[in-house]
Amino acid sequence: MSTTRHLASAGSLVLLATLASCTDPGEREADWEFIHAAIIEPNCATASCHSSLSKTAGIDFEDVDSSYDFLVDQFFVVPFEQNSNLLFLLNGVERPLMPPDGPLPKADVDLIKAWIADGALR
């Protein structure tokens, strides 16, 4: 059997296994460390935007603690408040859409919304 066929078989098995175990977006833990590392840092702290290098608009989202402080201190996130500014930005409603080049999947925005609804704990 060729290497390609081995790869195809292995890939198919992995994908079938994941297919069987897929979960809904709401089942992820809505905690800040995960939201920062999995969503904010890779999508917002890009080199041309809110990285330590660029600090576009003076905003640096690379560090987990200073990112949290900024969002709360500047009232982008108000604990328990479903109308927090951050959500308007992520949905592009009445504010410029963020991130402008690669909007977040709705499931990720919903996770951030759930985190804010739970009190936006650090």
Partner: protein, 389 residues
């Protein structure tokens, strides 16, 4: 169901590759033609990219464009053999349309005109040592007006001055090995020029994500291997130190290249590992190059181990070269940030047209339609005018 689609597409790509592989003859246009079997045949860097060497400049005015003198400064000044100079200027027009669950967002349809790239490159060599540096200005598509009006805005060209790459190489005479130390992209995968392609952006090869590293490259007769240990920029870059290792191996035939690679990155809050492969196949008759890359990823979060995730990155599509200086591509791209979670995947169809009317000049058009987890959609159109020194 997204994973069912992944399964069908993944198997289809692999089957297509296995069916087509034994039949074609001849060479890929850029990587294999005229004895250019590896990227480093035309570039000084051991894995390609950046400054073009003498052979590459000859090809630039011969097979890759519709004529002209590809030499530095158009051949007006002859460079000493120890020195190479280059540069890239790009101006771009970008139009974006986005639909989210809230409807069409407010920036849709707005045209952005901006300087995308302004880099100068230099390479000086002595003995087996060479020093390469690229200095330029970061591109910026949008004004950085702060959303709440309370924070400072970035201004001035100096604040955008950056050196994307600066590295020293050592390649002993008659040796297949090159050692490289400094700032550069660790070689991995297809190494597309488009930094917004999913396989670059989401695997850590986005714009200005070159890392500081120590790498060893080996070039064989029909293969190349690169191993790089790297860290994020300790001075200007990330507050979070990222350490990693990236390795790739590519084996070439007369008309195809098959590569495998792995990449590991560790920060204080997360560990991410990628493993994958890439494939290229050139069909001489229709002047078609097929390219594909698939990467499977695993990411673990220090504070949230229950949220560990499996990821998938993919790219597949043909590039057609109808005549000298013209190429057109269409590709399917996939990024699933968490295979175990529904509705967080991104799919894109990206189409490009590149026209090099003369050596040193390029007109580049790109269109991308994305589906970002239901119900998000995004459309991007871009025109680039590119001049290289």
């Amino acid at each position: 169901m997204n994973l069912a689609r992944h399964l069908i597409l993944g198997v289809a790509v692999l089957v297509l590759m296995s069916v087509l592989a034994p039949r074609a003859q001849a060479y890929p246009h850029f990587q294999f033609s005229s004895d250019t079997d590896a990227c480093s045949t035309c570039h000084y860097a051991p894995a390609g990219g950046g400054l073009i060497n003498g052979w590459g400049r000859e090809e630039a005015g011969d097979t890759l464009s519709r004529g002209g003198d590809g030499a530095a400064l158009h051949g007006l000044v002859e460079m000493p053999s120890w020195l190479a100079l280059g540069g890239d200027l790009r101006a771009a027009a970008l139009m974006k349309g986005v639909e989210t669950s809230e409807g069409t967002v407010n920036e849709s349809g707005k045209l952005h005109l901006f300087p995308m790239q302004a880099d100068l490159s230099a390479r000086a060599e002595h003995g087996g040592f060479a020093l390469t540096a690229v200095v330029g200005l970061r591109g910026k598509a949008r004004k950085s007006a702060p959303p709440d009006g309370s924070m400072r805005s970035e201004s001035g060209a100096l604040s955008r001055l950056v050196s994307r790459e600066h590295f020293m190489t050592y390649a002993p005479d008659d040796s297949r090995y090159t050692v490289r130390a400094g700032r550069f992209y660790a070689p991995y995968g297809l190494r597309l020029a488009d930094h917004t392609s999913y396989i670059r952006r989401y695997a850590g090869f986005g714009m200005l994500q070159e890392t500081y590293g120590l790498g060893v490259s080996r070039r064989g007769d029909a293969s190349e291997t690169h191993v790089t240990a790297h860290a994020s920029d300790p001075i200007l870059g990330s507050q979070n130190l990222t350490l990693g290792v990236t390795a790739m191996h590519e084996k070439r035939g007369d008309s195809h290249a098959l590569g495998t690679g792995t990449r590991l990155r560790i920060t204080e809050s997360t560990m991410q590992a990628w493993a994958g492969g890439h494939y290229k196949h050139w069909f001489e008759g229709p002047k078609l190059l097929l390219m594909a890359e698939v990467n499977a990823g695993y990411q673990r979060f220090t504070e949230s181990p229950d949220n560990s995730r499996l990821q998938l990155l993919g790219y597949a599509g043909p590039v057609w070269f109808p005549t000298d200086g013209v190429s057109a591509s269409i590709a399917y791209e996939l990024y699933d940030e968490d295979l175990l979670t529904r509705y967080v995947e991104r799919h894109a169809i990206t189409s490009t047209i590149s026209f090099l009317p003369r050596a040193h000049y390029e007109i580049f058009l790109m269109g991308r339609a994305e589906r970002i987890g239901p119900p998000g959609r995004s459309f991007t159109g871009m025109l680039q005018l590119h001049y290289y020194l």
